[in-house]
Symmetry: C2
Subunit: 235 residues, 2 copies
């Protein structure tokens, strides 16, 4: 069940069997959320952290005028709110962007476990720092790149992140987002997302239909996006 999480933790350093065993013992039985459901509500103070096992989740901030910004996307193997172990309350809601299967780690058990295994504590800390590094990359992408580059960058990033947990291969992966949802990620309008996607298709770089992405020319897409994967710490 924790295979994908362990693969991510391993980017910090190998997870020892007793650490893994400890983790497995504290996780609660899986639960399911349907696409569109809210997994955790904004401003709540969860007593457990949620790990995605399958599907796709997003952190979404909704504003007064109804506009929304998705500040993070979480794939299987990602904790969506590990930070709530340390910081409360949550400053955003977590939504299921596709049907999700999740499990949770109660904070109290997590505290005991991390006090027993300081290295595991740092590996979990590492995961939250990876989130922060992605936030910074998105700040650059949204602040300083045009719409075409942003879209290209997002696709490069999701390709690598999903490949890292065995959910992308040969530039092919599932990304079941509507164009309106992509607009909330990239800070664009739905209309413009549509035009940009058409442009990427016209350029022969990407095919994206029915939630399935296929990157046709990864080298050129990465060049266009000025994509440097260092920040993902995949080693």
């Amino acid at each position: 069940m924790l295979e994908r999480l362990v693969r991510k933790l391993a980017h910090y350093g190998p997870v020892r069997p007793d650490e893994l065993d400890g983790l497995e013992r504290i996780m609660t039985p899986p639960r399911v959320f349907a696409r569109g459901e809210e997994i955790i509500r904004q401003f709540s103070s969860p007593r457990e952290s949620t790990l995605v096992l399958a599907g796709l989740a997003g952190r979404r901030v909704t504003m007064e005028d109804g506009a929304a910004q998705v500040t993070a996307l979480h794939t299987p193997g990602d904790f969506v709110d590990l930070h709530s172990f340390v910081v409360a309350p949550l400053d955003h809601s977590i939504v299921a962007l596709a049907d999700c299967r999740v499990t949770t780690a109660p904070h109290e058990a997590l505290r005991l476990l991390t006090e027993r295994f300081p290295r595991l504590a740092r590996a979990l800390w590492f995961l939250t720092l990876l989130d922060a590094a992605i936030h910074r990359q998105w700040l650059v992408m949204i602040g300083r790149r045009d719409a075409l580059e942003r879209m290209a960058h997002l696709l490069c990033e999701m390709n690598l992140r999903l490949a890292d947990v065995g959910l992308a291969a040969g530039g092919r992966f599932e990304l079941p987002l509507t164009q309106a949802e992509v607009a909330d990620v990239l800070s664009l309008s739905t209309v413009h997302v549509n035009r940009v996607l058409q442009e990427l298709r016209r350029m022969g770089l990407v095919a994206w239909t029915q939630g399935r992405v296929e990157i046709l020319d990864g080298r050129e897409l990465a060049r266009l996006a000025q994509f440097d994967p260092t920040y993902l710490q995949l080693n």
Copy 2:
């Protein structure tokens, strides 16, 4: 020397005397960086984390075409690269935006200290999560708010953060950034920063000359910025 850091850590929970003592012992003698100097170079892998004692530092990503994005501002009491304790290499450079006095915590000493004091480890983790929460807020601000709102939001945030460490009072504080540097923070052009500042002055909300900011109407400024300080975790 660590008074401001301790005040920040205290937002997680009180720092015990033995924890504070441990911290004080590992910090190296202060060093000074002049405005404009690079404190840490992008892609380097520091063996110590840098704490700002005085001045103002920023994390800056410079792009191929010369455009820059500042992804974080750090005031006295902030670690600028605590994440480098866990993650390497750095995906951005740290620059002194004003003359800075800094001290550092060697990673090896930090490791021993945090293994002895798990609660202190979590308090430091908390600091990096606070950075991440600010990143998310900036994503919303840059992605979904217009230039006037962004500027207003930045001023509200810096006012609270500086007040928290005793460097702002009554809406007055030092923010010695040029308009070009502000542009790199807010993802605007220098020219537009200038126009927006004039507009805020004209509205009677803010005075900002010679690096000194004075917020004249905090309530209205916060309303304009749709500023909700929850994310800063100041309790």
